[in-house]
């Protein structure tokens, strides 16, 4: 049973309205401009990705990755300049080593490899940015929700007293227009 099937079973309790949340840490000098270029060229890529600008991939602190996964993201993408193009000359060399070690450590701890990916995307490669994002989102969608913080699953509420309407646990943005019966 391949990894994806193994997680398919985990998806039993997932509402079909579930949308994966992927956060992309993009280096300001290359990938962020690449993403901007993708926007200029009207390339559309899934809205599940949230782009976060960081000065350089070298600034990528492994704690951000775990914090993102803990706070409800289902996938993390870290993008930086190609080795040699770094505006700070050595930023992505350090990042390369750190991310290679950290990626293996997370996989060692049981995180599916597709959930944490690193790519070098330069300022001109708008197409590559779109393709990367689309492939990451599809892979994460196949894996299903991560919800690392099962202990606080959307706050199982205490009995709501006296007639106040129950708090709807599904996050607002992806709340479908009318909640099907």
């Amino acid at each position: 049973m391949s990894v994806v099937e193994a997680n398919k079973t985990a998806q039993v309790g997932v509402p079909d309205s579930w949308e994966p949340k992927v956060i992309a840490f993009c280096c300001h000098w290359c990938t962020y401009t690449g993403a901007d270029l993708a926007g200029l060229n009207r390339m559309n890529y899934p809205a599940n990705v949230r782009v976060l600008r960081i000065p350089c991939s070298g600034r990528m602190n492994p704690q951000y990755v775990i914090e993102a996964l803990n706070k409800g993201c289902d996938g993390v993408l870290v993008c930086g300049c190609h080795p040699g193009d770094c505006h700070y000359v050595t930023g992505n060399y350090y990042a390369r080593r750190r991310m290679m070690i950290f990626k293996r450590l997370l996989e060692y701890e049981g995180l599916e490899p597709e959930r944490f990916q690193v790519r070098w995307i330069s300022g001109a490669e708008a197409g590559k940015f779109r393709d990367t994002v689309m492939s990451v989102v599809e892979q994460v969608r196949a894996l299903g929700p991560l919800n690392l913080t099962r202990e606080i699953p959307q706050f199982e509420l205490p009995a709501v007293p006296d007639g106040q309407e129950a708090f709807n646990a599904v996050p607002e943005e992806v709340m479908p227009e009318e909640v099907s019966a």
Partner: protein, 330 residues
């Protein structure tokens, strides 16, 4: 009344009903603690006391206090959690029962009753099993705890070799023992006296500590301490907690969790001033609280002699050696 040790397991299986959680001392994944009794658990009544203390049942390490969210017209609403359930702890030792007395004093007296603790305490039934033999680190007899007696337990099972002497000590205990009819017989047996290799004399220690605030003994002691939180988290009577919140967008949960006076940010104030900045102040404060401050405030020692900190301290810092050194000082 008498309960033979063979009847113990059938009795336990009979007790695990749906409406009540039964906790027994057992090994969970290599850690000895009080865990929920279900089909698979093998209770371990031979081991004297568990590594993790039973205070987790009354005062969990992380306890959700209330959940807050925003209602229709945008103002906050607070929903209090009451996660307390009917619980029975079977096989708690007299030293841990004595630690519950200390926790009751802290949480239920002095003008404010902590309702989270109160709810849990009310729904807890304690079946205490006396100790026939002691571990090498046990010194409860020196801290006025009788290894075969626990006055505040609901049911006391005194270990008499191959049978237990069943004594119901509270109304709740009577109801409990009444339900054990098929497993117990009439009769009284003399409990085994429990020999303890480790003993300290607390004679005059509390008063001597009063004037020893600047004594060099604290320097020699605190130098070897790592200031980790092991002793405070394993101690059955340590009750310090921190309050924090976990947010998701506009709603969140405010919880309280164990905290340790050994951590540097425990008394760190916003302006940067810390009344206990170094290891010396923190180690002194912890031992003074155990042996003197609590005695002055509540009239009982906060150390019950269970020996968990003596056993599990990474650098073998030993409260009994401190008591001996203080007693030895003129």
């Amino acid at each position: 009344m008498i309960l033979t040790k063979q009847n113990l397991m059938p009795l336990l299986r009979n007790l695990t009903g749906a409406e009540r959680d039964v906790f027994v001392p057992t090994q969970v994944d290599g850690v000895s603690k009080f865990a929920l009794m279900d089909k698979g658990t093998v209770p371990d009544f031979e081991q004297v006391n568990t590594t993790m203390p039973p205070k987790d049942l009354l005062f969990p390490q992380t306890q959700k206090m209330y959940h807050f969210d925003v209602d229709a017209n945008g103002s906050y609403r607070i929903h209090e959690y009451d996660e307390s359930r009917e619980q029975l702890v079977f096989g708690i030792r007299p030293c841990d029962m004595r630690s519950i007395v200390c926790l009751d004093e802290v949480f239920l007296t002095k003008g404010f009753v902590d309702e989270f603790y109160a709810n849990a305490r009310e729904k807890l039934t304690c079946v205490c099993i006396g100790c026939a033999s002691a571990a090498e680190t046990c010194f409860c007899a020196s801290m006025d705890v009788d290894p075969q007696l626990a006055p505040n337990a609901d049911v006391m099972l005194q270990d008499c070799g191959d049978v237990y002497n069943v004594i119901a000590q509270t109304p709740k205990g009577e109801v409990e023992v009444a339900a054990w009819a098929p497993f117990v017989e009439e009769g009284v047996v003399e409990p085994v006296t429990c020999e303890q290799s480790l003993a300290v004399s607390m004679e005059g220690v509390v008063d001597k500590l009063e004037g020893m605030y600047d004594h060099p003994i604290w320097d020699n002691l605190s130098i070897k301490c790592l200031n980790c939180g092991t002793c405070t988290y394993l101690c059955p009577t340590c009750h310090c907690f921190d309050i924090s919140q976990d947010m998701r967008r506009k709603d969140g949960v405010r919880f309280r969790c164990w905290d340790s006076c050994m951590f540097s940010e425990y008394t760190m104030m916003a302006g940067g001033h810390n009344p206990r900045p170094e290891k010396l102040e923190r180690v002194r404060n912890r031992f003074m609280h155990k042996l003197n401050f609590f005695e002055r405030r509540y009239g009982m020692s906060l150390c019950v002699g269970c020996g968990r900190c003596v056993e599990k301290c990474p650098v073998a810092l030993d409260i009994t050696r401190l008591i001996d050194d203080v007693a030895a000082i003129g």
